[in-house]
């Protein structure tokens, strides 16, 4: 017998001879596996639940910001009010402030109410015009400044409704809350209901959310992400243009050329540590170096871009080095064996093979940078900016905002309408991130298909 070599478990319970019955050992092993699978499934379920909860809350709060209440009015551009001299001189037209436009809107509102046959008990002309955003006068003025020849005509303008009216149609404002609100009365809301029935007030897609600049605390309906999107795009451009080549070059040097000694070990440790440095530290660095020392302007995408580049570099370097390491050495040998130089073997063979990994690292780094808020607060990107930055490269030095900073900014404001906007901005941010990931996947597929 060979029982001498049998394991203790076997000695205790002799192996059943049939394959159809499980022995104790196998049963225990299977139970352990089942438990492990169960735990894995639970972990995934928790993660999915958290994600769904997050999405539901953000979408629930934010989706409504993609629709906005508009009032369409026939406005008579009264020459008597806008251009008293009648010579269409832009300098004189510019003298009329937005207050000068308010009567035009008031008159247009009255005409619209009459046309709709709505009764207006308890609402005077000024209050009726109060259904419209203060921003409308400014918009109207911009139009007239751009087209002075249209003065004297009656034109149809879609105007933003007041934030409270918008909130009423979205369910945020009720008759009860309006009764306590100095800015709106229940009578005004009743008028709004009638105008909506008549088609004067309607909900439209909110293009302004994407194109308009930020607006003051009292005009949530006019606030948009235009400046923030532009600022974020500029910064991403700067990060991509700086961090990708520098990161890849540094990785290639460290991985392929640098001698392995104490210095390179030190550099390696430092890079790994940099990746773990809290982002706000980079903000302090940016403030000290780029703004106070170099003298770059505050709130400018160039400073934000540089700070985010510093933050993204370690991520890109670590990912690139991992990708380079993963290229089998036999490929390098093959290239060197046919007489390629080290540089040729890297450029022609190693780098293309590492490209998918480098790309993934870069996109992850960019996505991190896109969502980064803390360092940008420190370099002044939280400032209230209504002017669009210019075209690059000069525009890199103009003040701008950034998407995550705008979200933070809006959540700090009093009017609940801004909370809705902030959620909308988060959705926009998520869409950008998703788009970046999709681009990464597509690029990766393309690179991989070539081999």
């Amino acid at each position: 017998m060979t029982d001498l070599t049998a394991s203790p478990a076997n000695a205790a319970a002799p192996r059943p001879s049939s394959l159809l019955t499980l022995d104790a050992r196998t049963k225990r092993r299977n139970a352990a596996e089942a438990r492990f699978r169960m735990m894995g499934a639970i972990a995934v379920a928790i993660a999915v639940l958290a994600l769904v909860g997050l999405l539901v809350s953000i979408l629930g709060n934010g989706l409504s910001s993609f629709r906005q209440t508009h009032v369409t009015l026939e406005v008579f551009l009264d020459p008597a009010k806008l251009d008293k001299a009648g010579d269409r001189d832009p300098a004189k037209i510019a003298k009329v402030t937005t207050f000068g436009y308010a009567p035009l809107i008031q008159a247009a509102m009255q005409t619209a109410i009459e046309k709709a046959g709505a009764t207006t008990e308890g609402v005077n002309a000024k209050q009726a015009a109060g259904l419209i955003s203060d921003e409308a006068a400014a918009t109207l003025r911009r139009f007239v400044m751009a087209h002075p020849e249209r003065i004297g005509e009656t034109l149809s303008f879609p105007m933003l409704a007041n934030g409270r009216v918008d909130g009423y149609f979205k369910g945020r404002v009720t008759m009860e809350s309006a009764a306590l609100d100095r800015n709106i009365s229940p009578e005004q809301l009743q008028l709004a209901d009638k105008l909506r029935a008549a088609g004067v007030i309607e909900m439209k897609f909110n293009w302004g959310l994407f194109t308009a600049p930020d607006a003051s605390d009292t005009r949530p309906e006019a606030a948009g992400l235009g400046v923030a999107i532009l600022g974020s795009a500029y910064m991403m451009l700067i990060v991509l243009v700086l961090a990708l080549p520098i990161g890849v070059a540094a990785s290639i040097y460290l991985e392929e050329f640098a001698p392995k000694n104490r210095w390179t070990d030190l550099i390696e440790v430092n890079i790994s540590n940099l990746a773990a440095v809290p982002s706000i530290v980079f903000g302090i660095l940016g403030l000290a170096v780029f703004i106070n020392f170099v003298g770059l302007p505050q709130s400018a995408p160039i400073v934000g871009g540089l700070v985010l580049t510093l933050m993204t570099l370690p991520t890109i370097i670590i990912a690139t080095r991992a990708a380079l390491k993963a290229v089998p050495p036999s490929i390098r040998d093959a290239a060197l064996g046919v007489g390629a130089s080290k540089m040729q073997s890297i450029m022609h063979h190693v780098l293309p093979l590492a490209a998918p990994g480098i790309l993934t690292g870069t996109i992850i780094g960019l996505a991190q940078a896109l969502g980064e808020t803390a360092p940008l607060l420190l370099i002044g990107m939280v400032a209230f900016v209504r002017e669009y930055p210019g075209a690059p490269p000069e525009g890199f030095f103009d003040p701008a905002s950034a998407l995550p900073v705008q979200v933070y900014n809006w959540t700090q404001r009093g009017d609940p309408a801004f909370i809705e906007r902030a959620s909308g901005a988060i959705i926009v941010l998520l869409i950008f991130l998703m788009a970046m990931n999709i681009i990464a996947i597509i690029l990766r597929r393309r690179f991989e298909r070539r081999w």
């Binding site: 392995k260 050495p329 490929i331 093959a334 290239a335 064996g337 390629a340």
Partner: protein
């Protein structure tokens, strides 16, 4: 300089010129002394076989000849290796230039993850061997024919080289190596992944290459060494035990270790 100082075979050395002359080559991997005091002359227009048990340093010595060992950080080479009288470890020698003259086929097939055509065309391209596409096409076809793989791949030159079978990949690597027209071709067990038919084709190719080049082949097959080579070197535990005409090594080995190995008693 004295190129004919191989101690044992001095009398038998014929008119063929010495291509590579190694003297007192020592190789260390860190602390490991992998190759001990190897001196050997490799002739032009000759096939030289390296045989010996696994781990005895055949590949190590082969990689010394085209300085592939430079890529291993821990590896240190001492002694001199002359290629046509010039020291290849001289500081002025650029290993890239050397490797264009001394081609190599590796133990494991390692095609580039590119098309079959690009695999073969890569060497000629970087060395500027072709002036136009037609010439390059010619070079590629000739190389693939010499690698005994043309008939199998001629209809799918643009499909990836990594999609071929192991044996086909190795022949592709041979084609890639000959495409750059090296003067010396180092082959590290080129047939270990090949079936007998492909092996025969490669052996035929080696015999053909002998007309113009010096070929060094590492093999674990005694029959193969006997079939293709004119000279054989037997390595054991980092030492070059015996070097001489293939006939002599296989019929009248002078060292007892050689005899034991070729008769299958050590390995």
């Amino acid at each position: 300089m004295n190129m004919y100082d191989s101690p044992e075979r001095e009398a038998k050395l014929d008119q063929k010129a010495t291509k590579i002359s190694a003297r007192n080559v020592q190789v260390y991997y860190g602390e490991t002394h992998a190759l001990k005091d190897v001196s050997v002359d490799i002739q032009d227009k000759t096939v030289t076989a390296f045989i010996g048990p696994s781990g005895c340093g055949k590949s190590t010595f082969l990689r010394c000849i085209n300085r592939m060992n430079d890529t291993i950080d821990s590896c240190r080479v001492e002694g001199t290796i002359l290629l046509e009288g010039e020291d290849i470890y001289d500081r002025r020698v650029d290993p890239v230039q050397l490797r264009a003259k001394v081609g190599m086929v590796f133990q494991k097939p390692n095609p580039f993850p590119k098309s079959i055509y690009d695999n073969v065309a890569y060497g000629p391209r970087i060395h500027g061997l072709a002036r136009n596409k037609a010439e390059l096409d010619d070079i590629v076809e000739r190389a693939l024919r010499r690698g005994a793989i043309w008939n199998e791949v001629k209809d799918r030159l643009q499909s990836p080289g990594t999609g071929l079978s192991g044996g086909q990949q190795q022949r592709l690597c041979i084609a890639r190596a000959v495409a750059t027209e090296p003067e010396v071709l180092l082959m590290d067990e080129p047939c270990s992944a090949l079936d007998p038919i492909a092996t025969a084709q490669v052996e035929e190719l080696i015999d053909e290459l002998r007309q113009d080049y010096s070929v060094v082949i590492v093999t674990h097959s005694m029959q193969q060494a006997a079939r293709v080579s004119q000279k054989t070197a037997f390595f054991h535990l980092g030492n070059l035990v015996e070097f001489g005409d293939t006939d002599q090594i296989f019929t009248r080995p002078q060292d007892s270790r050689t005899e034991s190995y070729i008769t299958g008693r050590i390995g």
